[in-house]
Symmetry: C2
Subunit: 443 residues, 2 copies
């Protein structure tokens, strides 16, 4: 009988994953069972293929979930991250291998012994970020270490962006992923990293002011702002003693300066509801955060208060931020209002393509000499369905799933793709799909 692969979740990030599985179903003798709360979507993903079926599936129904997992030979969980743990526990009980692209939670980590005892693998963090970032970094780091080198610095940036051919607004940005996450990005405790042996902290309200400029071959000028916690990657990558480690998010140059205006005004705050959101206009919204000055224009007040450049003003004006357009949201937080304003102008249009950019910088010492290596990945989406995001999240999952089923990857317990046994074959096959890093020695 064919190997039954259960894919739980058929949303945006599952398109390329499912296509890969269906494309390989005959050759590998697989049957792809696609469950999603949205039955139509699940059936669409199956596409009438005789080796696939889509069906309505409530993954939070314990009984139903147990039954589907029991019927399956292998499980791919593409659920929202917090639900993977439910699937993982079923998989231990029912002795099924399982894979998810999401971060390992402390709760998931605790399942390691049980998973080993059950003889199964729970593979995690094998999408794009986390996933391809881990694998591409470990390839270089292990190579350096094998040559007797010592890592001095690791910087890594990833961005989910708009492809150059669809980049037609002054922000050089469109929402290619969850807009809410973009609006709230960076909030919480200070960003933490290490630089030349010194711990450094950047509070949220300075995050977009302390960006690093990065030029990326072929796609131009970018900038990176620090992610929340770069420090944890020391242990994940076996770089406990590295003096400089920094992970960040990439945007096109100029984005952060304009975005910082929102942060400074307090527009990204999601912690309280504005008194009058229902009756306010975009212009009122901006003015709520500015000083009262009867005789002065909103544009003049904001420009003066934050010493805004023409470029930033152009970006803000592009969003109709100063227009008397009704916000039309009841009991909304500043973040919700900002999100709505941004979505109107930064949404993807038909035919727009997205782009994933990843850029690593490695400094290391070998034979008494310091060397620097840059490594970059650029993936452009095929279309609205098979986006760069879906490709880079889904293909590593799919390829790794195949290798686990085939026994080419034969590990037990809670795993990450940071070991050669995983990243080597997966990265090799990703190349066939154009997911390929270009390395440059810097002199």
């Amino acid at each position: 009988m064919a190997t039954r692969i259960l894919v739980i979740g058929a949303g945006r990030s599952s398109s390329s994953l499912i296509r890969y599985l269906i494309d390989n179903a005959s050759a590998e003798d697989w049957f792809i069972a696609i469950g999603d709360s949205n039955e139509t979507l699940a059936k669409e993903r199956a596409g009438g293929n005789e080796r696939a079926e889509g069906f309505a599936f409530d993954a939070l129904n314990d009984e139903r979930r147990g039954k589907e997992i029991e019927r399956a030979d292998f499980v791919v969980s593409m659920l929202p991250a917090r639900f993977h743990i439910l699937v993982a526990k079923d998989c231990i009980r029912l002795k099924k291998n399982v894979i998810t692209p999401s971060y390992v939670t402390p709760e998931m980590k605790l399942l390691d012994q049980e998973a080993r005892a059950a003889g199964i693998i729970i593979m995690n963090e094998i999408g794009v970020d986390p996933g391809i970032d881990h694998m591409s970094a470990m390839e270089v780091i292990h190579k350096v270490q094998a040559a007797g080198g010592k890592m001095l610095r690791f910087e890594s940036f990833t961005g989910g962006l708009i492809a150059p051919e669809s980049d037609d607004n002054p922000w050089n940005y469109k929402f290619t992923w969850n807009p809410r996450n973009v609006v709230l990005a960076g909030q919480g405790s200070a960003a933490q990293f290490l630089q030349e042996g010194a711990f450094k902290y950047i509070p949220y309200h300075r995050l977009f002011q302390r960006v690093k400029p990065i030029e990326i071959d072929g796609v131009g000028q970018f900038e990176g702002y620090a992610n929340r916690d770069s420090l944890k990657y020391r242990s994940i990558y076996g770089l406990e003693d590295i003096p400089t480690i920094y992970r960040g998010t990439l945007r096109k140059a100029g984005y952060s300066k304009a975005w910082d205006t929102f942060v400074q005004l307090g527009m990204t705050d999601d912690s309280y509801v504005m008194q009058n959101s229902e009756t306010m206009t975009n212009r009122d919204f901006v003015n709520s955060f500015l000083i009262y000055a009867e005789d002065r224009r909103v544009e003049d007040k904001i420009r003066e208060q934050f010493d805004l450049s023409d470029d930033v003003m152009r970006k803000l004006e592009f969003l109709d931020l100063f227009e008397p357009i009704p916000v039309a949201l009841k009991n909304a937080t500043p973040a919700q209002i900002l999100q709505k304003i941004l979505e109107t102008k930064l949404e993807l249009k038909d035919g727009d393509k997205d782009m994933i950019v990843m850029w690593h910088r490695f400094n290391y010492e070998v034979d008494g000499q310091e060397r620097e290596l840059h490594s970059q990945l650029i993936v452009i989406g095929e279309d609205e369905d098979y986006t760069a995001m879906a490709q880079t999240v889904g293909l590593p999952v799919a390829i790794c799933a195949k290798m686990i089923i085939n026994g080419k990857i034969d590990l037990k317990g809670v795993q990450l793709p940071t070991i050669p046994e995983v990243y080597k074959p997966v990265m090799a096959e990703l190349e066939e799909y154009g997911i390929h890093f270009k390395e440059t020695e810097v002199k």
Copy 2:
């Protein structure tokens, strides 16, 4: 038999309160029972007076608390605010009048019907802020309204400060109250107020940049930063339609600009532990929040990044912020480290006196004319025990307690001192203790 007044909590804010009660005990035929978890302190407050006793008292022990309240004729709760509700519920059950200086919580408000049914009063918010602020504001507001006037603007500022004669540091500030609260002041959701009919919001990271300069007769130049929620005072003061309402905290001029440096750096953040707090110096602490620049001094980096004036630099240097003095705190948050550094330099010295300053501005229209009235209170502490804070918190509580016991204030249910029946007699007697507002008509 003498009326037994139970005072729960003999801490810093109870000194003047207890002195007043003891001073009046003979004339009023009272006996003052003072319970505190610190027995020595409770006995000290009783001072060997025959009409008072101090004893160890665990207010969180339900049985003990019930017994003490049962024995008493009247209860004064000076516990930390969150515990008043326990006392209030006992007082309803045991039919005893009770008074607290703290804010009414929603939970407390819900006890109104029960308190009325039990025939008792639960008087709240009758310290300084809340308390004297309410009473002094309502006196003016009711006077304006009685004359057919219409309130246009209410601004109110209070500060717990250092008296001019003890003001000997460049911050013009010392910790006269809980330092932790000072370090965390203003955090959370944006400050909200109304100006000329427009809702205005100031996020925490801009709070100390948007201060209002205020000159106060006889004590000099101050500045006020906005409190979290000015809007709720509309309903408390019956000013539902007022176009401008703003409440704030007072500091001496120049304080906020320097304090803002801490906020901008991220030093007041209490949400995460710094990696290396145990081994860092004050100077390392500052540098953790600054860019890495091998060849540049911390002083130069901070000065340049925030464009600091000589005055701000002098304030920072006064704190030994740039000295290689060990922080010596394990697993500390930035806020904890900052607090320790500040406490070393801004603590009260022997003989130092504190000062409470309150300043109101009322604009109103009467007979078609706009008028402006300023009202100010300055209270200087007697000494370290009978501080201005203890006087202004404790005396209104004590005076109001007397009037409730005497039947001069005869109300039931959950009450605030915003009605003439309360504020008139209390304010009149406060004058005898030098707690007196000076009013000025502004032309």
